[in-house]
Structures are given as C-alpha cells and as structure tokens.
Amino acid sequence: MHVVIIGNGIAGITAARELRKRSDCRITVISKETDYFFSRTALMYMYMGHLKFEHTQPYENWFWQKNKIELVRGMIESVDFAQRKLFLSADSQTVVYQPTLLERLTKVASKPATSASQVRDLSYDKLIIATGSVPRFGDWPNTHLDGVQGLYSFQDLEKLERSSAGVKQAVVVGGGLIGVELAEMLHSRGIHVTMLVRESSYWSSVLAPEESALVTQHVQKHGINLRFGCELAKIQGTQKVERVITSQGETIDCQLIGISIGVEPNIDFLRTTSLETQRGILVNEYLETNLPNVYAVGDCVEHRIPPQGRKSVEQIWYTGRIMGETVAQTIGGQRTPYRPGVFFNSAKFFDLEYQTYGDVPAQCPDGIQTFYWQHPSKEIAIRINYRQDTQAVTGFNALGTRLRHATCDAWIRQQRSLDYVLEHFQEADFNPEFFEKLRLSH
C-alpha cells in the first residue's frame, strides 16, 4: 500500500509518523513549502531572533529516511482521483539527506542509498490531503504592492524579513492572534506599529470584556498603537506601500502592512475536481472525503458534522495533530472517529499568557453564569463559567497564570460544581514553584 500525504505541516506529518508506527506501508509526504517539517507556530520566534530555523524542526533531518518516510519537495499541479494519480510540477524532487560525519560515526544515520531525483507523478492507494491554510486578503485594491503581506508560511516569513528592512512604521490589519504576533515581531525590530481592529476592544469576538480589556491594556503598554472600531479603507502607494487610509478617514504613513484578518483552507487547486468542498474539504467524522481512499486532515478540513462544541473549520495546531493521529489509526486498519474532546487553546500576547479550557464565549449564554477573578495588582485573571442549574463548570479562561490541562479537562467532563472547583483550585495550578498561590472565592 502506498499512502501519499499532501502537506508536511503538523497534520500531515503526524499522520505519516503515526501510520509508520502501525504499518509497514510505503509513505510519501509532498510539500511545496520546505524540505522538512517545521513548526509554523515558531515563525515569530525566528523573526525575533529567539530561534533559528533548525530549532523549529521537531525532528532531525535524518529522521525521515530512518523511518522510511519519503519526502518530495514540489507542487501538485493536478489530481486524477479516478486513476489515483498525482501530477507534480517540473521542479519536484525527492528530498534526500546526507548525514554529517558525526551522525555517521555515532550511527545515528547512514548514507542514503539514492540521490535526489525528479518526481513528475505519483500513484497512491490512499491519499491524505493536509494542505493547511492561506492568509485571507480581503478585496482591497493595491494588496499587490510591495510591503503588503500576511503571515502563514515560511515564504511569508522570508518575505517579511526582506520587506521590513529599514521600515519605520507598519500597520497591522486585524485584531486576532496572528495580528498581535505580527505586532510583537515588528515591534521587536524597533518598528512603530499601528493595529487596526474592527471591534471595540482587542479580540472581543472571542474574549469576554474583562479579559479583552486586560489584553488591550497589556498590548498598549508595550507601545502598540491600537485603533478600535477601525478598518482598512484604502492602501496607497506606487510600487511600495506608502500609507493607508482607515475607515475613519485617517491617513497613516507606513511602509509595511500586515494583513491578519484570518486564514482560509488552502484548496484552490482542488476546487474544480470531483472532491466535495465548501469553505474547506468536506469530511465525515472519520475524516473521509466524498471520494474513496481520499482523506483530509488539519486546517484544510471542513467537518460536515462538527464535533460537539467545535466549529466546522477549526484551524488550531493541536486539532491538526489529533486529526493526523486519528486518520493514521483509520488507515492503519482501525477505523476511528475524530473526537477532539473538550475544547482548549492557548496564546501569548507579548508577555501575557492565555489559556482556555472548555467553553468560554465572549458573551455569557443563557443558563450559564460566570465567576471572574482578577488579581488586585498583577496582570492575572481567571474566569470560570458554570451552569446556573447544576453549578457544573463549563469552561476556564486564565490570563497571566497557568492551569493544568488534565485537571480542567476532568472537572469539565465530570461536571464538577463551581464550589468544588474553587475549593480544589490548587490542583489545577501549573505555575512554577515559589509563584504566588491564587486563592479564589466568591
């Protein structure tokens, strides 16, 4: 059996690795982005000089050959689903790693048997599509100008490295997670950043007002100019971007615009095929598409029936990972539904860490009550949502403090009462030793 995986991001690579644990089948992973898997969550740290590219690679370069996972660097030009065949661009090549002397001496890796060769087409028995996302761009004119870009891929980072050189002012459009990352990145290079945020406070579509206010203050304290209730109206410039005009009519000079109004599934090359798509590739709970032997995982997926408490398109690092783990079980012979469990996520806004478990929407729904605690002097806040009738907790938000995933997850699944949770709150404390112990009470 030959399993071909399109995309070497977290979803595709997890599928390849987990499948290798279960099966001896031939596995090929194709990527147009990089030779080897890297964590795109670390793009910002590369730019800020915390890490180099090699540090963002969770597996060393010899890993793939050793685990008989074939890598191809190239682009899919077309797919013949009937013949189960992929056609690749002319520059597509196998990726072959030459181990270093030290790796050979320590028997970590051996010399490869083959050298890199061209690949024009590939036949598959099972196909896993894991093509991820592309940044959304909106329909403003002039987005083609130099200095207008999003941040998703390795190529985007290379572009940013070039286009931010010598820049004094930048505008970031969109007040989400990538927006604040972009702001922090540019700020670290001494660039003055203005963020245009459509909502009236930061990320208020996701965060409740108190958390949103706390994050807003924190971001402002770091010197980011936040414009709320403000959208991008026009981009001006001749070859390179020179200024933007906002929906409020204000003109802001800038030499760089970061567009971060969200991402969408990267499936353009599949739109005209027999594969059923809407926003993303439509899959059932087994991550099977409408075509036999074709699966989809990760950001590019749209669930026909989303798992409970989750969106149909959910672009989160770990959901890509869990989908990869799940599809590997299915292809490995044990058909397994995708059940990502209780929702969780995390982020970091400059120095302020954020974790969430369960369901904590921006507006408290009917029948749900909320407990909110904020530290009197530090940037620390905790929110616990719970059902009015049973008092069972339904979700946690933590800002500036760390909560234990397994404990919060268990409390939500076991429907523990708010009083129980407050009384046992120390069990969920995941802060380092000597940190202040938070005492929560009504």
């Binding site: 969550t41 320590t106 670290s188 990502p340 209780v342 969780f344 970091k348 860490e353 995941f430």
Partner: protein, 509 residues
C-alpha cells in the same frame, strides 16, 4: 537608558583593557635576599648559583623576567635529566613565587588604585550595562539572541572564547605569567586569610565576581519568575559564602581549606593523600569535614535527589553550575540538541565517572598500602593524568572556554562525574520530573533551544510525556520560556511520572 547601557559597556571595555595593561606594570629585580629566602636550602648551591647572572638585573616586564628565570631552571633540570640525576631535578614551583616577590613598582605599591581601575571599572561598567533592563517591562526577553555576534557564535563569541581558553591555560599551567594579576587582589587575600594571593585566590575572586554580577543580570532578566530568582540567589550565596569566603576564613584560623559544598567525584582530589592527611591532622573539625564529605555522596546525594531531583545540587548549589547559570546564561541556547550529541554525552560522562572511581580506588590503595604500584600501574601518574586531562583541560579549558561556542554546560553534560552519579539517582529513584501540560504544546522549540543540557524537551512535551532525564539539572528555563504554559518542574510520587506517552493526546475519548 540606552546611554547608560552604552556608557557601561565602554567602562567595562576600558576596565578590561586596563586589566590586560596591568600585566605590563612593575619592574622585576632578583636580589640575593630573595634567593636565600625563596629557595629551599638544598637548592641554594645549585639553582641559587645558576641564578647569579640575573641578580640585580632589572627587568621592565614580568614576562621577560619569568622567561629568563624559567630558562635557567629548565636548562638546569635538563642537565640533570641528561646526566640521569633524577633526584636532583627541581619540581618546586618557584617561578610564580619568585616573580611575584621580585616585583616592585606602581601596581605593587598601589594595588587598590589598580584594583579600582580594573575590577572596579569592569564591575561598575557591567552593572551599568545590565541595570537599565529594569526599565523594560518584565517578561522573557530573548529578542535578537540569534542575531547577535556575541550569542550566536559570531566574531565577539570567538574572541571571548579564545580569551577564556588562553586564560585557563595560562592560569593552570603557566601561572607565573599572571603574577601581576594576583597582586591586584593581594589586599583582599591578606584581609581574608593573611597571605598574599595565590593564582587560585585570583581565580576564586574572578569566579565569584562573575557569579555575583551576572547573578544580578539573571535576577533582573527573570524578575517575573520567582523560581529563577530564588534559584539564582541560592547559587550566588553558595559560591560567595561557601565556596569563596568560608575556605579563606578557615585558612586564616589555621584550619584546612575546605569547600563544604564540593562533592567527590567532582571534587576528585578529596581522597588524595595530602587532603586526607590535612583533614586527619586537624582535630575534630578535620574529622567532621572528612565524614561530611563522605556523607554527602553516600547519603546526601541519594536522599536529596530522591526528593528534589539533581537540581538541588546542579543548579542550586554547585559552583560549576553557579557559573553556568550566571556567566553562562547568555550562551545556553548553543547546546547541541542532536541525538548524536546525546549518544556521545552518555558514553563520555559515564566514562569520566568510571575513570574518577578507578583513579580514586588506586589512590586509596596507595594511601593504605603505601605501595604506589597498583597492578603495575603507578597510581600517582594515573592521578596526575586525571588531574591534567579531566580536572584541568576538560573541566576548565574546554568546559568554560567553550561557553560562547558550545553553550554553558559542556563540562556538566559531557564530563562531570558527579552529574553522572546524581543523574543515575534522578533517572531511577526520584520524585522529580518536568510535567508537560496535556495537549497545549505547539512544538515551537523554545524549550529545547534554551535547554542548556541539550535535552530535546519538545520531543516529550509535544506527546504529553513527562521529562525524566538523567541530565536535567532543573534550571527551569524551559518552563520559563514556554509561551503556552506547558512545562513545570514538579516533585511528586515517583509512580505519577508519565514515562510512556499517551496514544492520542487528550482526544478520541
């Protein structure tokens, strides 16, 4: 604030330049009185006579004087060796003491002035360079580390590394050429133990100043992290009070020089005859020191490591660890995380432990039996081989000299026999682990990058497995740099350590 920082850097460089310049100060004259007071009676007629051409000749440079002296001594010894008069060969380390005693001039007369112009300027400059960080918002500040020539193996790192290596080689093997530097700290040495500074006093002083100043930097850098602050305070305390001051005070009270926190086999000469004799001849205190030293590795290591992991020593108490965690902190990201490095590490560090044990057994055999030959091997030459290659070259020259190129724990990771011994307990019998936080890991790699021991922390974190590794020194930086709150150093029931990664992380239940 940027101005203050820049000023600090200039002061630091000026102080450093003046420090190098002090090596050229003083003039050096050998007098008949010096010869009769410094040389042993049996060497007066031999070396004493040979030195006559130098007498009353004034050298403007200490290096020229030392070179002239060494040449005479070496020629004499070579003559004895050629004539196979082995008993006459002079092994005494006269060179350093005579160079120092022959000096006169500005540095000798005004050591405090020069102390202020060198160490004083360096410390003030360094603090000025460091303190303005207080005006920044607290938080992980690793911006630009891999863009900077000093922290990314650039030209600055290469210069610093070359200087450190040169410094160690000179200090260990040619201390006579650093005689002037010891005069800078003579007043402090005299105040503490009543005698002029030896090279080891100079080294201890510089070492402690580095730990203190860079400890301040660490405390500021991690002022949002109590664990780092407490831990830094601990290493600074142990280096300053227990490793540096206390032994000097003991000497001034006519007691044996003893570092209460140094543990065999890192303290490889603990069982050497001269140390045992010195302790045994020092009454109850000496006996206590002997028992304490043995109890530390027989009882202290297993018990404390069981409760806290090896961090209780390596990143809270140890002097090598103290330097690594303060002076070495800017270089922690340079450790090699590859599997190849891990393989080399495991062989090497355990081989050094084996060598330390074998060497010590031989030394003790000689001590009790009086026979220096163990299975036809001379225990004295084994002991000096160990001292030269492992105690000197590996721990010092390589261990610290390569900070700017290979990270701050080269010795601790690849060479320290005590770390290997502590690691065995940590791996097999300890409540310590680094807990990973469910499915929150985003595989960004900050933890692995900033692990000074080169542990691929992420490999565990991204699959929800606790980190139980012999080499982990528990510095806690992985937890500090994690942007998603995934890592936490914990002590809890041994059986709660997650040794096998879950099949699917918090999904598909």
């Amino acid at each position: 604030m940027a101005f203050l920082s820049r000023l600090g850097l200039y002061l630091l460089l000026a102080g450093f330049g003046l420090w190098l310049y002090t090596l050229t100060l003083n003039e050096f004259t050998l007098t008949p009185t010096l010869i009769s007071s410094q040389l042993k009676p049996e060497h007066q007629a031999t070396l004493g006579v040979r030195l006559q051409p130098l007498v009353q000749k004034t050298f403007q440079s200490g290096w020229e004087f030392t070179y002239a002296f060494d040449t005479i001594l070496n020629n004499l010894n070579n003559e004895y060796r050629t004539a196979q008069q082995w008993d006459k060969v002079i092994y005494d380390e006269y060179s350093f003491a005579i160079t120092k005693a022959a000096a006169s001039g500005s540095l000798k007369q005004q050591p405090w002035l020069w102390f202020g112009l060198t160490f004083g300027l360096i410390v003030v400059g360094a603090l000025l360079f460091i303190l303005p960080a207080l005006t920044q918002l607290a938080g992980n500040k690793n911006n630009g580390i891999f863009h900077d020539a000093s922290t990314n193996r650039g030209w600055i790192a290469k210069i610093i590394g070359a200087f450190l290596i040169l410094f160690y080689i000179t200090l260990y093997y040619y201390p006579q050429y650093l005689a002037n530097w010891t005069m800078l700290v003579d007043p402090i040495s005299k105040a503490l133990n009543g005698a002029e500074a030896s090279r080891w006093f100079l080294y201890g002083f510089i070492y402690t100043v580095c730990v203190l100043v860079m400890g301040v930097r660490m405390a500021i850098k991690y002022r949002h992290n109590r664990y780092q602050q407490v831990r830094t305070a601990s290493v600074v305390f142990f280096q300053t009070a227990v490793a540096f001051l206390l032994p000097e005070i003991l000497v001034s009270l006519n007691k044996p020089y003893f570092d209460f926190k140094n543990i065999w086999p890192l303290d490889y000469d603990f069982f050497f005859d001269y140390n045992l004799n010195s302790l045994l001849q020092s009454g109850n205190l000496g006996i206590f020191m002997l028992v304490w030293g043995i109890a530390l590795f027989v009882v202290g290591v297993p018990i404390l490591t069981y409760f806290f992991g090896k961090r209780w020593y390596c990143s809270w108490v140890c002097g090598c660890g103290g330097l690594a965690e303060t002076l070495g902190d800017p270089y922690r990201q340079l450790s090699d995380k590859s599997l190849a490095a891990w393989k080399i590490e495991r062989y090497l560090v355990h081989a050094v432990l084996g060598a330390a044990v074998v060497m010590t057994v031989m030394v003790l055999y000689t001590y009790f039996s009086g026979s220096s030959s163990v299975l036809f091997i001379d225990s004295y030459s084994v002991r000096s081989l160990y001292g030269f290659w492992i105690g000197g070259i590996f721990a010092g020259v390589v261990g610290t000299g390569l900070y700017p190129m290979m990270g701050n724990r080269v010795w601790c990771r690849f060479g320290c026999p005590l770390a290997a011994y502590l690691g065995m307990w940590q791996r097999k019998k300890s409540r310590f682990r680094i807990t990973t936080n469910g499915g929150q890991c985003i595989s960004c790699g900050n933890c692995s990058t900033y692990c000074e021991m080169g542990i691929d922390v992420r490999a565990y974190a991204q699959r929800g497995q606790d980190i139980v590794r012999s080499s982990c020194v528990g510095c806690g930086i992985c937890s500090a740099v994690c942007p998603r709150g995934v890592l936490n150093l914990e002590n809890a029931s041994e059986n709660s350590r997650v040794m096998v990664a879950p099949e699917v992380l918090l999904g598909n239940k």
